[in-house]
Amino acid sequence: MDAKSRILSRIRHALKDRPKALLPEHPHPAFSQDTMELFLKRLAENGAEGHLVDKEGARKLLADLAQGLPGAAYGKGVPDALRLLPELPPEEAPLGVSRALFAVAETGTVALSSEDGRRTQLLPPVHLVLVEEKRVYPSLLEAFLDLKSLPSAIGLHSGPSKSADIGQVMVKGVHGPGRLVVAVLQGTW
């Protein structure tokens, strides 16, 4: 017998006389607070910056962030209209720009797909994430129940990289970006 059969047979033996526990249903998702207001509030509490902008506002936000920078790394889903700086590899770029799969108000989170590109999401010290207004979900449960297909990896980002491992003092930007900026885009784009 191989390891798998031995492990499974021991489990079956162990469970032989044990009563089976029922699987509870997911709770009915119900979130009464205003989603956008909560999302921006929770982002701020997580140490990230959130902005609700139209197309022109997004360009302005990007232009402000890009000031004095030689270039930026871009996720695959970032529209051409928002690629204001020359493209740099993520290892060298001072700014990374990604397009999120969705966002969650409850936890102040943006969800990033591996299809958009992982290095841009992790290596530059500043990370700007674009997310469509209609892709902001009230709760994590609603977002997960609504997912139709899964990419090879999803990263849920809820604020800048941080650690308190050195003498319990909070340090930002330990491995990932020390600054997370989220632009919620109104309308379609």
């Binding site: 191989d2 390891a3 798998k4 492990i7 499974l8 021991r10 489990i11 162990a14 469970l15 044990r18 009563p19 089976k20 526990a21 029922l22 699987l23 509870p24 997911h26 997580n46 290892e91 409850e106 936890t107 102040g108 591996s114 299809e115 590109g117 992982r118 290095r119 999401q121 992790l122 994590l140 449960l141 977002a143 997960f144 129940l145 997912l147 899964l150 990419p151 090879s152 990896a153 999803i154 990263g155 849920l156 980002h157 809820s158 800048p160 990289s161 941080k162 650690s163 308190a164 491992d165 050195i166 003498g167 319990q168 003092v169 340090v171 930007g173 330990v174 491995h175 990932g176 970006p177």
Partner: protein
Amino acid sequence: MRVKAKLYPKEAARLLREQPGVREAVTGATLHFEANRKRAYQEIDAEAWRERARRVKDHLLTHLDHYLELAEKRLQEKGVQVHWAEDPEEAHRILREIVARHGVKRAVKAKSMLTEELGVNPLLESLGVEVYETDLGEYLIQLLGEPPSHIVGPAIHLALSDIQRLFHQRFGTPLDASPEALAAVARKVLREAFLTADLGISGANFLVAETGTLALMENEGNIRLSTSLPRVHVAFVGIEKLLPRFADLALFLPLTARAATGQRLSTYVSLIQGPAKEGEEGPQEVHVVLVDHGRTALLHDPEAWEVLRCLRCGACLNACPVYRQTGGHPYGYVYSGPIGAVLDPGLLGLEDTYPLPYASTLCGACYEACPVKIPIPKLLLAWRNRAVERGLAPTWEKGAMQAFAKVMQSPSLYRLLSKALRGFPLPQDLLPLLKAWTEGRGPLQPSPKPFHQLWQELKE
């Protein structure tokens, strides 16, 4: 890993005597975590969340064979290579083959308690692979050659001055360097390692059977980097770490974060469904090693199996007045604190871990903190009962307990003896148990009047 749990009382006493700074550092860190957890629980209907999580986990564990086979199938459909390992030797063989096939020279590791159980770092080093722990706390203790002392914060026993001294010796930073400056040095070393490693090694917080999703939680970003940059990713997963449905993550991710650090969600969560697709960045190969190492034996145990619900959040450590005194090292195995006291005997056998179930005041704070309602005090008592039954506890303990029970059940005997003790106090320096008490405190002084009498006087 070598198990040193038998030495618990001696090691705990030695640490308190020789390294009093540890108590200060650990107490400070755990009180901070504990206050954050309480605040985070108050924000939600914690009782309802914990009960739901308990029920999901009990369902999973009572259908474990079904969900393991489903998880394997889903992982394979996504192109993940699945391995099964009963013990550390089998896990080593699997890892050795992967290292040889890919000519691995350098590996980056994301903190994982299971890889501590399996001794992954010593194995890799013996194969000539350079291993970098990439969690900042874990990196510090790797430099010091120490095991982790806390499930979530492996280096909470170190004071800032300890780390300043370490980095001064290793990297020549000033002795008064700020935490930011120290972190910047570590970031530089580890960034280089991420970009050049051939292999990334991780554990998993959860493995979803329905979708074959590996879920990993962290705050630094090192786990996302370890599982994104190297061309091979190997995840070691305990067989009890499964969840039935993808949407169960919506409960378990935030609940674990709230219990562990008081956050609504950890800063980074990686949900991994397989190797990179054509034209995509990410590892070309993903391996999942499903590890037993004592877990099926625990599942078989009708009095102890509930401990398998554990999410490894560390909340019980932070709540424990006993853990706070010494941190995790004296417990002598990977899992310390209240959960270690009931998990280690189950994984390793009571013979090698006998003192651990006694490392508790039975105050119940661990149960109140536990996100999956593991009845830790009940399990501690079950292990203590067995220690007495198997003759592991000293024989005088059983006799003394029986005599104590007899006295406490008979009011006349109780009064007679307490009167005698007031007249003729015990020779406190001679009895070993009392000596241990009086060493750090004043002598025991019986009240001149019995409580019974004081109560009567108060009423009058």
